[in-house]
Amino acid sequence: MSTALLIEQLLNGLQLGVMLFLMAAGLTLIFGVMGLINLAHGSLYMIGAFACAVVASATGSFWLGLIASLAAAAAAGAIMEVVVIRRLYDRDHLDQVLATFALILIFSEGSRWIFGSFPLYLDIPPLLQGAVSLPGGGQYQLYRLAIIAVGIAVALGLYLLISRTRLGMRIRAGESDREMIAALGIDIQTLYTIVFALGAALAGLAGALVGALQSVQVGMGEPVLILAFVVIVIGGIGSIKGALIGAVLVGLIDTMGRFLLPKTLALILPAAQAGMVGGALASMLIYIVMALILAFRPRGLFAA
């Protein structure tokens, strides 16, 4: 195994992690701040990807598509909050699970209604196409580097917003006692709509960015939703820092597991079998890690 390969895999892990972070950031914001379990977060991700694909193919510009994805996801989030979510804050988690589960069905079938059942086309913008050379002789896809950069910028921005601004304080205050913050004269309702739209926009951004790497299709949000939940739980719910570190951890573990487990097993098993068993173990790996972390730190790594 060459060092170039190792470096590339580490970058891959980092990039996967950062992508998960974009998804997890919105989720942890909504989840941690509003105490709301939003299973439909994956739908917002899908909406972002669809909006980007549709606008990009209509205008020929990925960047316009990106703006559209932010706008569409934020709008969908705001509408969702006003019509449904708002009534669920003081309910227990169960009602939230059911309602947002229902929203998944509505969004998924709704998009199929509008866009049909075939995957849409969305490609990387010309500016970011191709690969760059890495020290050590390897190569790395430029677009993935760009995703890493965007993710880190978002992490920083969010962290400052939540921990340093008055808006952030009020949002967190609402998390601990909504009634009280309203009794202090703060329009928590509108504030929550804004936060929700912000979280949604981040999911939409993730969807659009990742959509260019994958197939843009109905249901694309579901697998990443579960991973995003894993991330925020490992990191500690409500913590932006936790989400970032959790995401990178999951990204690295998943990538390295997929890469190294079959190789390691190949030392003792025939190649085909090592591939299967290793693959099976690799897919269980992040869940095993999550269970271990929670067993020792029941509130995640960076409990708020």
């Binding site: 205050a173 998390e175 006692d177 009794a183 202090l184």
Partner: protein, 228 residues
């Protein structure tokens, strides 16, 4: 000028009625005491003013504005500051953040609150859920003051405080009163409450049964309504 006026207030929790006709008013610059035994409806009255529970019937007006149909934050913005029963500090915020989150207007500042309660200054960066009971109580008062209310509403604001601190808080209340702050206060300790109050109201089973000056609340009446 009449700041707050409540007439014939009736409030329900689900199907069970808690208030059966409360009448109460606060003039500007006045300290009014709201009294009554446990469970008679004091907190419910206050929550109704703030829109935290909805009045079923009756009228509540503040600064000559009808508030019964407004949303809680709109009501508070008319100039009402609440120190709720049970403190309800924002547990995941630090002392400083609790104060900043509430800040509105510019007369009261973090610094001024710190002067009123030096203890809070010491614990500025500690999370509210780890404060002692008394510290939380101070924080709740400070937080309400940060909204620069024209009427400060204190629900059991001295509960669980050490005697020296109670004295401090009563002193603070007197200071606020002297500065012209209007205050509606619920408290169990008559010995401390009556001297600062300009007028008192007594609730029994959700209705106003007494309204008058502290002097008019004779020991006999105190025994009858409050069991003293």
């Amino acid at each position: 000028m009449t700041l707050l006026s409540i007439k014939g207030l009736e409030t329900f929790y689900g199907a069970s009625q808690a208030l059966f006709g409360v009448d109460l008013d606060v003039e500007e610059g006045e300290v009014v005491a709201l009294m009554g035994r446990n469970g008679m409806g004091k907190t419910t009255t206050i929550n109704s003013i703030f829109g935290l529970v909805r009045a079923r019937s009756g009228a509540i007006s503040f600064a000559s504005k009808q508030v019964t149909s407004l949303r809680p934050h709109k009501i508070a913005r008319l100039g009402l500051g609440l120190v709720p029963e049970g403190r309800r500090c924002f547990s995941n915020l630090t002392v400083l953040e609790n104060l900043l989150a509430a800040a509105r207007g510019n007369e009261w500042t973090v610094q001024k609150v710190g002067e009123l309660f030096p203890r809070l200054n010491e614990r500025r960066d500690q999370f509210a859920n780890t404060l002692s009971g008394g510290e939380q109580q101070m924080l709740a008062i400070g937080r309400a003051l940060m909204t620069n209310p024209s009427l400060l509403v204190l629900d059991e604001a001295t509960e669980g405080l050490a005697p020296v601190i109670r004295q401090d808080i009563w002193a603070a209340i007197r200071k606020l009163k002297a500065a012209g702050q209007s205050i509606l206060v619920v408290d169990k300790t008559l010995a401390e409450l009556l001297p600062v109050a300009d007028r008192c109201f007594v609730l029994e089973k959700g209705t106003t049964v007494f309204a008058g000056t502290p002097e008019q609340l004779t020991p006999a009446l105190q025994d009858r309504y409050l069991g003293v």
